[in-house]
């Protein structure tokens, strides 16, 4: 690869024959096109997808607002103010107030915090359990895979809503309970994705090379195989979030989730429905932001999938 033109037959090698390359000098691609790493390529495809980027910016907006609005806002989400109930949106309460005089803007963004927290936690737990379980299933294969897969299948065949509701009966309804309940069956999908990926990757040369150098199973799985399976894992993760957010809102709406005075979009929609004929803003704002969030995560996840696997894009 050096620039020396003569590669012939002098008996002695002298230092002049070699040209030192600088440590980070790049060998130019002959076609003149900048070579892109896989991740740059993916990012380029993602950025050029307008719908996905819209979703991305909505997520950023909602996350930033969820963090900062409750800090900046002069109101808080739980103090009742009975002289100021059911005010329509105005200068001091941009989204109006509810039946206890609480600021709907403040509560909407407190609800956003809960939704995003639930979404992230559910995704994180799914990720950890799914990678460990799926990684082991896929790597070892054979009997181990069969037994573990059967177990996952049985768990998966139990309807998700029933597990969640049963757990909520046994444990107190709270945020933790919701997250635990969602995690019990939530990770299985991720485990299957990881399993499929690992099965494909484990016979690749680099995995074999690592194995022949004496690396253990755990090292091969987590150092070599998982990073290469990151695409499908990330996509699954992104699409887990809107489901988790919806489930939390759904349970809170039914009165089985987050309890008052904590604000959640689900409880706010429940309250809003009861009052919608007279005070529609109490329904409008939580409903709007719940839909926006779910929409944003879905289109972003779709875009991510297309970016990782352009073949899938139709």
């Amino acid at each position: 690869m050096s620039n020396t033109n003569h590669t012939n037959t002098s008996d002695k090698l002298s230092p002049e024959m070699f040209e030192k390359l600088k440590r980070d000098s790049v060998i130019k691609d002959e076609a003149g096109r900048k070579s892109l790493t896989a991740w740059q390529d993916i990012r380029q495809r993602l950025v050029s997808n307008k719908l996905a980027m819209t979703g991305f910016w909505i997520i950023v907006f909602i996350a930033v607002a969820a963090i900062f609005v409750p800090i900046i806002s002069p109101h808080d989400h739980f103090t009742n103010n009975l002289t100021n109930t059911n005010q329509p949106p105005n200068a001091s309460h941009w989204f109006g107030t509810d039946d206890l005089g609480r600021d709907v803007l403040e509560r909407t963004w407190k609800g956003a915090q809960i939704s995003l927290f639930v979404g992230l936690m559910a995704a994180l737990i799914d990720l950890i359990l799914g990678i460990i379980y799926g990684g082991i299933m896929g790597y070892y294969g054979g009997k181990v895979d069969e037994v573990m897969n059967r177990f996952a299948e049985i768990l998966y065949s139990i309807p998700y809503l029933l597990v969640v509701i049963l757990l909520l009966v046994v444990m107190e309804p709270s945020l933790t309970t919701i997250i635990i309940a969602m995690s019990i069956t939530g990770w299985i999908n991720m485990a299957w994705i990881v399993r499929g990926q690992i099965m494909q990757l484990k016979n690749q040369e680099y995995a074999l090379a690592s194995k022949s150098l004496g690396a253990g199973a755990m090292r091969i799985i987590f150092r070599h195989l998982i990073p290469n399976a990151m695409g499908p894992i990330l996509v699954t993760l992104t699409l887990t979030v809107p489901n988790a957010i919806f489930t939390e809102a759904f349970l809170s709406f039914l009165g089985l989730g987050v309890q008052s005075p904590v604000a959640s979009w689900g409880t706010m929609i429940d309250d809003g429905v009861k009052a919608m004929s007279i005070y529609p803003w109490r329904l409008l704002f939580p409903a709007l932001f719940l839909s926006l969030t779910i929409f944003a995560f879905n289109v972003f996840g779709d875009g991510l999938r297309d970016a990782f696997d352009p073949k899938l894009k139709k």
Partner: protein, 310 residues
């Protein structure tokens, strides 16, 4: 093929058995007894009550009794609604839920397939974009947002529909839209992407070169070959509709099982919770099993005796 169906069937029974056992154990793990109340009862009365309800026996005996009764369709009596048997309550409230659920399932499949078909036929043209915009909206707006909004505008403000209830055929429109919008979007996208692939297959080219018209090709040749993923989805669709109906029944005040289910959890009415849980589980697992069987019947590769692919 028979072996595949049989193994799926055994699998269903096993899952069901596990769920029943888990439910029983969970309900027994909860501290407190249904016979406790604020009113002081004497020791003797308490003992008598326990003996009457069989609660003095060891857990495995109670479990055995429970299983035996369950097989005979006896799910015990409700704790909140005095002297009403759980199976009667379920039977009485199943009607509206079933009618609404079936309407929603049929609507989802028909409308979803039509949308997906239109989108695939006009790939990358106006109609495709239009159908996919509808699909994205349907996916994004959750039922618990869509239902109240429709109720507010279409029923309360403009008076086109009744606000609540499920008596006239017109009353089905709003709850069905709310329940079916998500699945419609999903099926449309699913069918579209499979059908685009199928439409590029050789046998479609053959059909075209025979001079068949576009619609005949799509309906007679492409649709059948694109239906497989939709068939697989049917089991999950049922689960989604049942889940959704819990919310929709609450919003539209429909006296179905979903409403009872939520109420039973809030009331901590254990026999009713267990009864409805098992009832739902049976419906879901049976539909999932039927979807598996349908899959084998539809897919010629499976009929040939191939091993069930995951």
């Amino acid at each position: 093929m028979l072996r595949f169906i049989l193994s799926k069937f055994m699998f269903m029974l096993l899952s069901l058995f596990l769920l029943v056992s888990a439910t029983f154990l969970l309900m027994n793990a909860i501290p407190g007894s249904p016979l406790q109340s604020e009113k002081a009862t004497s020791e003797a009365v308490q003992k008598n009550l326990e003996a009457y309800y069989g609660l003095d026996k060891p857990l495995y005996v109670q479990y055995g009794t429970y299983l035996k009764n369950l097989l005979q369709g006896d799910m015990g009596i409700s704790m909140k609604k005095k002297f009403q048997s759980v199976d009667k309550m379920i039977a009485n409230s199943f009607g509206p839920s079933l009618r609404l659920g079936l309407t929603a399932v049929v609507t989802s499949v028909v409308v979803g397939c039509v949308l997906g078909m239109i989108a695939a036929m006009h790939h990358r043209k106006l109609l495709d974009n239009l159908a996919m915009i509808i699909a994205v909206i349907g996916m994004a707006i959750p039922s618990l947002v869509m239902a109240p909004l429709m109720q507010y505008y279409l029923a309360f403000k403009w008076g086109i529909f009744e606000v609540a209830g499920l008596d006239k055929p017109m009353d089905y429109v709003l709850p069905t839209i709310a329940l079916a919008s998500g699945p419609i979007a999903f099926i449309a996208r699913l069918l579209r992407s499979t059908m685009i692939e199928v439409l590029n297959a050789d046998f479609i080219k053959t059909a075209k070169s025979k001079g068949l018209s576009g619609y005949v090709i799509v309906v007679r040749h492409a649709l059948r070959n694109s239906m497989l993923p939709v068939v697989t989805y049917l089991g999950y669709l049922t689960a989604g509709i049942i889940t959704g109906s819990v919310v929709i029944e609450k919003i539209f005040a429909i006296p179905g099982i979903g409403k009872y289910f939520v109420q039973s959890v809030i009331d901590r009415d254990y026999p009713l919770i267990m009864g409805i849980t098992i009832f739902y589980a049976v419906i879901l697992m049976v539909t999932r099993f039927l979807a598996d069987v349908a899959y084998v019947l539809v897919d010629p590769r499976m009929r040939a005796g191939g091993k069930g692919a995951k």
